[in-house]
Symmetry: C2
Subunit: 241 residues, 2 copies
């Protein structure tokens, strides 16, 4: 079924018209009266609707439900701000893979240090990438993209999850599997470093706040590969596939 | 330790000189006499060497051993030939993630249909990408990149693994976890489709040859995301991290 993201308010209406980009999309798809489409509020609620009329793309809601494609486990991807388009790549892929949110923040070896204005512009772009990937992958929820002001803020926020994990290339003993082995988690934070890796002092700080420091194996992963590898493994462990 | 890929022959020598790109790389790194480096034959064997002289980058082998960074499980990534640079992306990432080999082949909905000449040129490029990613990620083995002539050939070859798996977006019942649950596998084939997905007839054909058809969850993954998600999960399941 074709999916359209609408406001939570529109989702509650008996009859709703598609507008703006949604209307354009409906036109391109040549939707016909009687066809069924899916409206999503981007927060995990959706409505199965029937096309009533193509004049103003009028839809009638038939059934409202929770999204069927969201993961039961809420995984937050915390990635230290990388260079150039790497975060864009991670946002797109993490959205497909079912991440709950993507959080970026500064760390000591981050090369990219955008000012507030350019960061605001980037954030808008990142949000668009998340929305578009959510639509393409059939998600009922658009992951939030958050920009935090400091490394400590990221640690404190990440530490609130049932499983709060940092990945560090010099850790060899604790595997992700060990860290997840107790099971019974419903929220997970996965924190990874920038191109140059995390500094030892940052790893120590993370441990103090309560994060577990894990390895992702004996091969050195690029900064954009690590979060997606960890996310895939967590989704697998949680029984998503 | 810095790594250089050399021929299997050079790896067996007591004293060996770095040449060509390796010599240039050594120069850039300003290696000094007494420093230790690692020579790898790209097949999983390596030698710990000491720099004897920087004149001709003469090294003395101190110890030969099996590579410490190769996965015990041999995972072959079978990806139907995608458009443009997507296979390059998958080769780079699958190499980092520890794939044993990457195999590409035609399938019904493949849009990319390069002729033999252009395929030969592409293959050279793909091999370079694998070599470079192997070096960067610290692997002892450069994954082979293979181009097969037909879909049936891919199926027959893939089916020889202990776990031969195809991923199909319309499969919902059999998860990857179920397929791997019996354990005791040392070779795995992961087969995924092109941009437009696999045709039902192709999935039937795969089942007949003995592949198990699995889901990667309720979200639709892009063709370049699916193999990397599956590979990450298999490495996790096999105890790599």
């Amino acid at each position: 079924m074709v999916r359209f993201f609408v406001s939570a308010e529109d989702l509650e209406k008996e009859d709703v018209s598609l507008t703006g980009e949604n209307a354009q999309h409906a036109k391109v798809l040549r939707l016909k009266p009687g066809e069924m489409v899916l409206l999503c509020d981007g927060e995990g609620r959706e409505a199965v609707c029937k096309v009533e009329s193509t004049d103003e793309w009028l839809l009638r809601a038939m059934e409202r439900r929770e999204s069927q494609s969201e993961a039961a486990v809420k995984v937050s991807v915390y990635m230290a701000l990388p260079k150039a388009d790497k975060l864009e790549h991670v946002i797109q892929k993490a959205t497909e893979l079912g991440a709950y949110e993507i959080v970026t923040f500064p760390s000591v070896r981050c090369v990219s240090r955008p000012d507030e204005k350019s960061l605001k512009k980037k954030l808008e772009r990142w949000e668009k990438i998340a929305a578009s990937a959510a639509e393409q992958s059939g998600r009922g929820r658009i992951p939030k993209v958050l920009v935090l002001g400091s490394f400590s803020e990221a640690l404190t926020r990440a530490a609130q999850a049932d499983k709060a994990l940092m990945f560090y290339e010099h850790e060899a003993a604790l595997t992700l599997k060990m860290a997840l082995s107790s099971g019974g988690y419903s929220t997970v934070s996965l924190l990874t470093g920038p191109e140059g890796g995390l500094e030892e002092a940052e790893v120590t700080q993370a441990r103090e706040v309560g994060l577990q420091v894990c390895t992702l194996g004996r091969r050195i992963l690029r900064c954009e590969t690590a979060p997606l590898c960890a996310l895939s493994a967590v989704m697998y462990d949680a029984g998503e596939f």
